[in-house]
């Protein structure tokens, strides 16, 4: 009996102590930006849709079931970019970093879906999958305060040349500087990160095989893309195989 009481008190005290120290620690943190950002100096690249298991796309262009999941993922992903959701966003000056350090309320720049052209899902509801020209969206990870230098753009290339022809939306795969910097979830609630759509036109003679495509961010000296250990830092590789 006494032992139970003792442990109740003892562990109660420890739990209280733990809670208290955690509370004190959390009080020292700002709710807007993390204390340290040194572990993510440079952003990673990621694609959408992202297949469940690995970064591999397998589909049959004549079988709509085989790519239904990719399409619905894209649709869902682009919902936040819908014009109706961007009502409060402003049009920013292209090509210039949009500094708003002094502003209390940070404004988000509008990203027009039309910039994604054929990959916007407006004209082609299947994002090109039914035609054998699948779209993949490439995005750069959000990092608070990151200001890319130069003129960053996405460039993708197949491992074996000539197997795939690649179209970029916006043209040249450009990422506009006006979407930077990012001010964090709480200050920058409506922020939309810029997207680059990559449309792949796979040559019909190479459809039988898997094609590996590697995308990289280029044109900016402060965005790394060749880290030995981190295979996703400023780059991403995925496989596509399309059957007919």
């Amino acid at each position: 009996g006494l032992i139970l009481l003792f442990y109740l008190v003892f562990y109660g005290f420890l739990a209280a102590l733990f809670t208290f120290t955690m509370w004190v620690m959390l009080q020292t943190l700002s709710s807007d930006i993390p204390k340290y950002r040194d572990r993510i100096a440079s952003p990673g690249l990621m694609i959408s849709p992202k297949p469940d298991t690995a970064l591999e796309f397998y589909f049959n262009k004549s079988d709509s079931q085989s790519y239904a999941e990719y399409v619905s993922t894209l649709r869902q992903f682009l919902e936040t970019y819908d014009d109706s959701k961007q009502a409060q966003n402003i049009d920013c000056t292209p090509g210039k970093v949009f500094d708003q350090n002094d502003e209390a309320v940070k404004k988000a720049c509008r990203f027009n879906l039309s910039e994604l052209g054929q990959c916007s899902g407006k004209e082609d509801k299947t994002f090109g999958y039914s035609k054998g020209t699948p779209c993949v969206l490439v995005k750069m990870n959000r990092i608070i305060g990151l200001k890319p230098e130069g003129e960053p753009y996405i460039q993708c290339s197949p491992k074996e040349e000539g197997t795939v022809q690649i179209n970029y939306f916006p043209p040249g795969g450009l990422i506009d500087l006006m979407y930077f910097p990012y001010y964090g979830k709480s200050l920058h609630a409506h922020y939309l990160q810029p997207l680059v759509a990559v449309q792949l036109a796979i040559n019909s003679n190479s459809t039988k095989e898997e094609t590996t495509i590697e995308c990289k961010i280029l044109g900016s000296p402060n965005l790394k893309n060749e880290d030995d250990r981190d295979k996703f830092l400023g780059r991403i590789a995925f496989k596509v195989q399309m059957t007919e």
């Binding site: 006494l2 955690m22 993510i40 990673g44 990621m46 297949p51 959000r142 920058h188 981190d230």
Partner: protein, 985 residues
């Protein structure tokens, strides 16, 4: 057995194909040597080195770690087949685990081999030589070349090189004490005197020594076939008991392994039922095992024990078997020899009686003067007799040695008298030269006296002085006067009565008493040309003047009484086992305190109450002197009763075989028994005892082989210092284990919380190994240097059934109190690191699956930032490092609190044990090197950590210290209370 002792010389020659004059031919000897093998005892079968090594590889926790390694490799195999990227982590983990086992195994093996080597070098001896007749020539041969049928010659001082049937002897006496324990030399002749070959006089036994005379004999047994060889093989038949510390460590390993396996299996089941993948569950299992097993502990225990063994070796206790170090500490009964162990092993004058008064002499080891009253004329007369009536002489060339250390030629009593005279009077040889000896009758057993006649050194006194010493009653018979205060007075019945009283009193002290008398021969009857003839005894040998008595004893070593009283307060029963006479044994027992001054034996009570012995209530007697003859007829119950009912026991006139019976009796009482021994036939008792202690100086090789410990100075007091060290190491091992076990919880909790709350892994398996085998090793060894908290010689020996090394309180306090506090502190650091990088605790909970997914490279933190897998992994390693650093910092506090179990740290002194500080600095140093030096080696999973994270756990470290001080305060304040019972380990 054999009947060689019954055969005549001729029959023997025929039987062994030899000739007493020519010996064997070299060719024949070589043939027999090839058949019988060398004449040496087969050493006890040693375990093959490879078996010893393999034992270290699978003993203790090794099995658990092997299982862990096997699981790692299996999951590597499966994952590799599936083509997973992280497969190699498991391969490395398996390799690391196997390395840990192999390295700790090699270490333990090396430690053991080292301590065995000390012994091996110790027992190596100079090869013995024997004088043999072969090919009709006398040859010096190495004794192990002897064969049956060889004719060997031995002389005084030689060790008998084999079992020998004697065919020629001249005044030959042998010391059979190593065989029978009887220390009186026994004479040897060629005659068949007894049916029993052990009793007959015409056989001399291997390894006994020839004390005096010469002899020639035929070798009848060699090597293991000798009597000694048979006893030695008997000794190896007596099983070795497991040492108490081995049992304790086994118990501890069992406990910890039990905890590890049950928690492991429990969480395996939990994780499987929580739909974790089977493979993941197995990896959790490995993690839990690794976290639970204190990998470095067994090595630490070995080091601590060998440190103590070294310390003990400095104090003249050479420990053969490391574990025996602690056994000595838990000893509850010491069965000690008398001669040489409790006593100085030399006769010394203890008392004098003259002028109707008893004087005590100094019997300490390094006497330089004698304090008794030397002014009386009687003493001058007595000292003259002592000096002159003595044939013993110092060996030349020892003038610079202290008198007590000089080697003397002569028997024990004469040696004692010579040294005594030299101490009191100075140069004895000079006095003898000035008082020239003109005639002498040496001591013989029919006369029982020794007599010599001298000129005096007084030039005006032309009389001869006749001096005589011998058995007191025989001397008194020859006297008609007695000297009192320098004047001769008639020896009336009153004076004779006084003599009797003194004689009885000294005899009752167990001392050997000698009487001394003299007579100045009248000058007119004995002019200086008088032809003294010792055969016809043409001089008076009666009506002499009695001068005094001297009594001698082999006195106790001066350090022994103190050591015995220490044993008493330490609750250790000291039993004397000796072959000596009961009266001498009891006297020595009394003088060293084995039998205390006030206690009585049954016989004493009977004498005091004047009733027959049978009517005395045996329970009233605290002391008992048991004769070997009585012991022979006793049943086991009767022996048990004696051992149980009497606290002070002396076994006298015992044979070494009976020692074994006594040891077994003590062990039946549940005691941990230490036994001293030196003879070959002590070896069964030495083996049977929980700790056998052989004498380094007087001990035979067989005894040293059978023993667990060798006493380099043969001194009982050294055993007691050994006991002290043994007790200290038991306490300190407790502290070491408590220290080591604590952080296991802080290593285990991360796994449990990882499984249950699905947070990113707080600490890696390899990081855990760096704590267990890196930062924690030196501190845990440092605890072995801790001084005792109180006088450990003032408490009873531990009860080996109740006082466990690792008891429930220790485990509970380490695991559930300090361990949990450490975990809390470490988790606060962990959450701080993650929160300050952007992952608030709320984001981490349940994040495991996505966090660990290789394809998710845009994992969102609490601030909306996105992380790649590698960025997350790097953060996870930072978490490992922070967790590691927190445990290290809190282990510093843990180390400090473990210095004491009851006293406040401030009573014990924070700086008294300097090694603890070495431990603390090494701990922090290693952590710094790992974090900042090796922080860039990815395989080790350390990252350079922000400096402030070193301090997050400091408040918790301080809390641990304060909490433990409070615990100790309550334990000291309220002994026996609920708190004391539950919190004192």
């Amino acid at each position: 057995i054999q009947d060689d002792h019954k055969l005549s010389t001729e029959e023997l020659e025929e039987k062994y194909g030899t000739s007493t004059s020519k010996g064997l031919s070299s060719a024949r000897a070589a043939e027999i040597l090839a058949r019988d093998g060398p004449n040496s005892l087969t050493p006890p079968k040693a375990t093959p080195e490879i078996v010893k090594f393999l034992k270290q590889m699978v003993g203790g926790f090794s099995i658990l770690l092997w299982i862990g390694a096997a699981f790692s490799w299996i999951s590597f195999g499966i994952q590799f087949a599936q083509g997973a990227e992280s497969a190699f982590d498991n391969l490395y983990l398996g390799v690391v685990l196997a390395l840990v086992v192999i390295l700790t195994g090699i270490f333990a093996y090396y430690q053991e081999a080292k301590s065995t080597n000390i012994m091996a070098s110790f027992s190596k001896m100079i090869p013995q030589q024997a004088l043999v007749i072969r090919d009709a020539e006398k040859k010096e041969l190495s004794a192990d070349q002897l064969v049956v049928g060889d004719i060997v010659e031995i002389k005084g001082g030689d060790r008998i090189p084999a079992d020998i049937r004697l065919i020629f002897t001249q005044g030959c006496k042998v010391d059979n004490s190593s065989l029978t324990g009887e220390s009186e030399p026994q004479s040897r002749s060629c005659d068949f005197t007894h049916e029993n070959p052990l009793e007959t006089r015409n056989i001399a036994f291997y390894s006994t020594t020839c004390v005096e005379g010469t002899a020639t004999g035929i070798v009848i047994n060699t090597g293991d076939r000798t009597i000694i060889g048979r006893i030695a093989s008997l000794a190896s038949g007596v099983g070795n008991e497991k040492t108490p510390i081995a049992i304790e460590i086994e118990h501890f390993v069992f406990l910890v392994a039990g905890v590890a396996i049950s928690i492991g299996v429990l969480f395996f089941v939990i994780s499987v039922s929580m739909r974790y993948k089977f493979l993941d569950s197995i990896i959790f299992l490995i993690g839990i095992i690794v976290a639970n097993v204190p990998e470095g502990l067994l090595a630490t225990v070995t080091v601590s024990l060998s440190l103590t063994a070294k310390r003990m070796a400095k104090k003249n206790c050479l420990v053969k078997n490391l574990e025996a170090v602690e056994t000595l500490g838990s000893t509850s009964i010491i069965c000690s020899d008398k001669t040489g162990t409790l006593t100085q092993n030399r006769m010394t004058v203890a008392h004098l009686w003259f002028d109707d008064q008893i004087y005590s002499a100094d019997t300490s080891e390094d006497q330089t003067t004698q304090p008794f009253d030397q002014s009386s004329q009687t003493w001058i007369a007595l000292s003259k007799i002592v000096t002159l009536c003595n044939r013993a002489e110092f060996r030349p060339g020892q003038e610079n040695l202290p008198i007590m250390k000089r080697v003397v030629v002569g028997d024990a009593s004469e040696t004692a008298l010579l040294k005594f005279a030299e101490v009191v009077l100075g140069d004895v040889m000079d006095i003898r030269a000035r008082n020239k000896k003109v005639a002498e009758i040496p001591f013989n057993s029919t006369n029982k006296f020794q007599l010599s006649i001298h000129e005096t050194d007084d030039p005006n006194d032309k009389r001869f002085l006749l001096v005589m010493k011998g058995a007191p009653e025989r001397i008194l018979e020859r006297c008609s006067t007695i000297m009192i205060n320098g004047k001769e007075e008639p020896l009336d019945s009153e004076k004779a009565e006084a003599f009797q009283t003194a004689y009885m009193e000294l005899g009752g002290l167990g001392e050997r008493v000698l009487g001394f008398c003299h007579l100045y021969l009248p000058e007119n009857e004995f002019p200086d040309t008088y032809p003294f003839d010792t055969d016809s005894m043409n001089f008076p040998t009666s009506n002499l003047c009695f001068v005094g008595l001297l009594s001698m004893i082999d006195p106790p070593r001066s350090t022994v009484p103190d050591a015995v009283s220490k044993c008493r307060s330490a609750g250790i029963k000291v039993i004397m086992v000796t072959g000596d006479h009961p009266i001498t044994a009891k006297a020595i027992a009394k003088s060293v305190g084995i039998v205390s001054a006030t206690s009585e034996t049954v016989e004493d009570i009977a004498k005091r109450l004047n009733v027959p012995v049978e009517q005395v209530d045996r329970r009233q007697a605290t002391a008992a002197v048991v004769n070997g003859m009585e012991l022979k007829d006793m049943s086991l119950q009767q022996l048990d009763e004696i051992l149980c009912n009497h606290s002070e026991i002396v076994f006298a006139r015992t044979s070494p075989q009976q020692k074994l019976i006594i040891v077994e009796g003590c062990q039946r009482q549940g005691a941990v028994v230490a036994v001293t021994g030196d003879g070959v036939n002590d070896s069964p008792a030495l083996k049977k005892a929980d700790i056998g202690i052989a004498m380094g100086i007087a001990g035979s090789d067989a005894a040293k082989n059978a023993a667990d410990m060798v006493l380099l100075d043969d001194n009982f007091a050294s055993i007691v210092t050994g006991v002290e060290e043994g007790r200290l190491i038991f306490d300190n091992l407790k502290k070491t284990i408590a220290y080591t076990l604590t952080k296991n919880i802080a290593e285990l909790c991360p796994f449990l919380i990882y499984i249950i709350a699905s947070i990113p892994m707080p600490i890696g398996t390899i990081t855990i190994l760096f704590i267990d085998l890196g930062t924690d090793i030196i501190p845990s060894v440092a605890l072995a240097y801790e001084k005792a908290e109180s006088d450990i010689m003032n408490r009873r020996p531990r009860n080996k059934r109740k006082d466990r090394l690792v008891n429930e309180q220790l485990a509970v306090y380490s695991y559930l109190h300090i361990g949990i506090m450490q975990s809390v502190g470490a988790f606060v650091t962990y959450f701080t690191v993650y929160a300050e990088q952007g992952f608030l605790p709320s984001t981490l909970l349940g994040a495991r699956v996505y966090w660990e997914s290789n394809t998710i490279n845009d994992f969102e933190d609490s601030y909306g930032q996105e992380w790649t897998k590698y960025q997350r992994m790097y953060l996870q390693w930072t978490g490992y490092t922070a967790f590691f650093v927190s445990i290290t910092i809190q282990q510093v506090a843990d180390l400090i609190i473990r210095k004491t179990r009851r006293n406040s740290i401030f009573q014990q002194g924070l700086f008294r044990n300097k090694v603890i500080w070495v431990g603390i600095f090494s701990q922090i140093g290693i952590a710094l090197i790992l974090t900042y030096g090796l922080g860039h080696v990815t395989a080790l999973n350390f990252t350079p950590l922000r400096f402030q994270y070193w301090f997050v756990a400091v408040p918790f470290a301080i809390l641990i210290w304060v909490y433990d001080e409070v615990r100790k305060l309550f334990i000291r304040r309220y002994p026996g209370s609920w708190w004391d019972k539950n919190m004192y380990y």
